[in-house]
Symmetry: C2
Subunit: 504 residues, 2 copies
């Protein structure tokens, strides 16, 4: 068989699989936004059937044969050509898929689905013991999966991380996190000793849903979100769904007493959506046109949520609009409002944490899940280990399991190895942002003038348009000329928060 | 192979195919309610891929082998057992599917998709000539399809009707329609000669969208629509989407100057939804749990829209509620309002026609499409033939192609043989309604008291729960003890409209 023939077959195959996956994307979006309560059982069946279909395609021996045919000719193109990139990723995905026995794949899907249900109920009821057996089961299965995927003496946990961050290892992450942890505590202690304190009360006032939605639409439209290629809906947990080119949907949730939660979660999801919208359309359905990693995805949401959305420049531009929607804001100044938005405080819940303490939540989860997968920590001992971290990092004793070890969905669904991506995302975000600023000049001045497209264009060119062409660490090197390290994030946090708290 | 083994395989196969079809149901629902404009191209690809998947399953030789295995043992169960019904329908569907060459199936899908686009534009632009070549193409392909499906000297058109109304023929429909046409003209002329005329102006007044939606929800909830197992959304053309058990969604559209369009279209779709909700859940995904025909489906929507929703009893109950939502109604009496709702008038648009003249719109389309498929009428001559019918039946010359031959989507999508189902549906509706009344007593009295469940329960038991167990004509015989004829519909129309117009 000629290379062209095999490669063409693989392209078609990849695009068709991506179409099925995008159909699943709609099934999930609808599940979380529109599905009537009595439709859940049928939706589970639909998702299970489509999952099985995609699994069969991912492990089809014919795919392996075609890959072998095409790769026999791989000297015909350069390392970062479309062909090389796609073949590299197809090969990697196929090899991973076939290493997991079908029986294990089915059991994992079942345990993940049951685990999420059990977790929801356990969190609602504050009942750790009801959840424990589900966690034990999924942990055992994930260890088996990790062992099946592991190659050559690496940590089992590495194989799970690799699912979200290709090429990343626990050891590599640990070295970044050690640096970040030390710098964070140093900064946090300075902040806590500062005489100035924000008043979170200035963020609260009457926020009718319609006014919030109008304001959110104005803001994210100005940032570059294209409503002709997406939607904004409500859901219990905000998320982004990239169903296809021209169809990237975001959701938010609204607090009637404060618009900031809905606004920042919308800006966060907009960052994810801008990445999806910016993937090269001619490569859709293939690795060249796909997001490269969870951390890079997260870096895009964090840039827009934190570095743009919580900056003085942004609020120079948007504070008057905010006041027009929420007149009670007029009694507060922009500076006082912004200080409250950027309040730093040790708190028990990850998703409500500020930029500085957020990474500590991630670091403790990274350490815990590494021990869980490695077998040094048993599920039964997790609550105690959790609370010990909470005490050490935050000086907090969680008031309940729901506020503690049961707060996140991730482990219940088997997503071990996912948490590090959040803090890595913050590091990538700071690195990209610093480089964009270096190349484009004063970004805050642009935000003050309502100009957000220079930053978006920079991200389009340097990050989005690259798809999976370069793995995350290579991408940051290509875009910023430097290896990933914690410095950019630490410098960014120090500069921002020392200024906010009057420490420099 | 044992019968049980083959039958179990077929059951699983049928349910899996139905799951894929229900996924397509969601793709279509979302297309018409939520999809952002730039998402259309990708949605077309998703639908095409899922269509191809379902087509491959429908024609898979393995399905044929299993059917043969199972049917070799068919003496083991009675004629209307689950097994007999499912095997009958699976066999019929497989035989039809494999008779259509794959090339033709692909061309038909493409022509239908392109035809709908061309029709939309042609209707908007009032441009018949731009649409004509698309119609010619689809007509040629549908003739080929009909020829491929035809068995033993029947009309080609019969094979197309059979797709919507299994077992029905053009000759059988013609004989019903001849009777209905004559009686309709007789009644229509009497109505037109009546001295009393309704005042359609009483239906118009300020109707805020929120008040309309609230009223609609109250009404359809009272009729039995379960909002925990469905949703009400807005779309350009109202429709019902039975995505799965526990998930049957309806849509409506609202006129700011009159709530009646939105209300009656919602009640119509509720009728479809009640049928879907009433299918036996233990047989979902198999013929025993599927709607039997378009006409039976339509009969359910017409019963609730016309026989219930436009009846005096219904408005005895709901007029006060309507007045509370739309206070301007207070200046009109219930009788005057109801008379306007039931106005009979020759008019050019099918979807806006009253109960009496509606069937004439169907009869002329039946005659036209029969000639088109039979080759006695060429597409190029269709506008002239259309206008000649409009003149003869309605004394109307359409003011434009859009108001005339281009008003309906059906032919552009290849749905030849579909139109008769609407008028057959009216006949079935009248037959079921008369029988329910005979068995339950005075239904109008129940409606006056807000009691709609006796009628719904009767329909559940006699129609919905039967799925496809009996073909439509056998179903009406089993439920009503009588062959289908036009009498019930004619008697119903005469009694209702002679009373409304003071003719008896």
């Amino acid at each position: 068989m000629k290379f062209e023939e095999a490669y063409r077959w693989l392209l078609d195959y990849s695009k068709t699989t991506a179409l099925y996956e995008s159909v699943m994307g709609l099934l999930h979006w609808d599940l979380r936004t529109c599905l009537p309560p009595r439709g859940h059982a049928h939706r589970s069946e639909q998702i299970a059937e489509m999952t099985a279909l995609v699994y069969r395609r991912a492990t089809d021996p014919r795919l392996g044969e075609m890959l072998a045919e095409a790769q026999a000719a791989k000297n015909r193109f350069s390392d970062f050509s479309d062909e090389a990139v796609n073949l590299r990723e197809w090969r990697r995905n196929f090899d991973r898929a076939v290493r997991i026995p079908q029986k294990l794949a089915v059991e994992l899907a079942k345990a993940a689905s049951e685990g999420q249900f059990a977790w929801q109920e356990a969190r609602r009821e504050n009942n750790w013991e009801s959840f424990r057996p589900y966690l034990e089961r999924i942990l055992a299965l994930k260890r088996q999966e990790g062992e099946a995927l592991s190659t050559g003496g690496k940590e089992v946990y590495d194989a799970l991380i690799d699912d979200f961050e290709q090429g990343e290892t626990a050891a590599g992450i640990e070295s970044l996190f050690t640096e970040l942890e030390a710098a964070t505590f140093k900064l946090l202690e300075k902040i806590e000793a500062a005489p100035r304190k924000p008043d979170p009360g200035v963020l609260r006032g009457d926020c009718p849903a319609l006014a919030q939605q109008t304001f959110i639409r104005e803001v994210i439209g100005a940032l570059g979100y294209d409503f002709d290629a997406g939607r904004l809906d409500l859901s219990a947990h905000p998320f982004t769904s990239g169903i296809g080119p021209g169809d990237v949907r975001i959701t938010t949730r609204l607090d009637p007493d404060s618009f900031v939660m809905g606004l920042f979660s919308s800006i966060h999801e907009t960052g994810h959506a801008l990445y999806e919208h910016g993937l090269p359309p001619e490569h859709r359905g293939t690795p060249c046109g796909s997001p490269v990693s969870m951390a890079i995805h997260e870096s895009q949401s964090r840039i827009w949520e934190n570095m743009v959305g919580k900056s003085p420049g942004f609020w120079n531009h948007f504070y008057p609009t905010a006041c027009s929607h929420f007149p009670w804001l007029n009694k507060t100044g922009r500076d006082e409002f912004l200080f409250a938005v950027n309040e730093v405080r040790r708190s028990p819940i990850r998703t409500e944490a500020d930029e500085v303490t957020y990474n500590l939540h991630i670091i403790m989860r990274f350490k815990l899940e590494r021990m869980l997968i490695g077998g040094e920590l048993q599920a039964a001992d997790l609550p105690q280990a959790w609370n010990s971290f909470m005490d050490r990092y935050f000086h907090i004793q969680p008031q309940s399991f729901s506020e503690g070890v049961l707060q996140d969905i991730h482990w219940s669904s088997g997503a071990f190895g996912y948490f590090p991506s959040y803090a890595l995302g913050n590091m990538y975000a700071a690195r990209f942002y610093a480089k964009a600023q270096e190349e484009l000049g004063n970004l805050e001045q642009m935000f003050s003038a309502g100009e957000f497209s220079p930053l978006l264009d920079w991200l389009r060119k340097n990050v989005h348009s690259r798809g999976s062409r370069l793995l995350a660490r290579d991408l940051v090197k290509a875009a910023c000329g430097e290896e990933l390290n914690a410095d950019s994030l630490v410098s960014y946090l120090e500069a921002k928060y020392e200024a906010a708290y009057g420490l420099r």
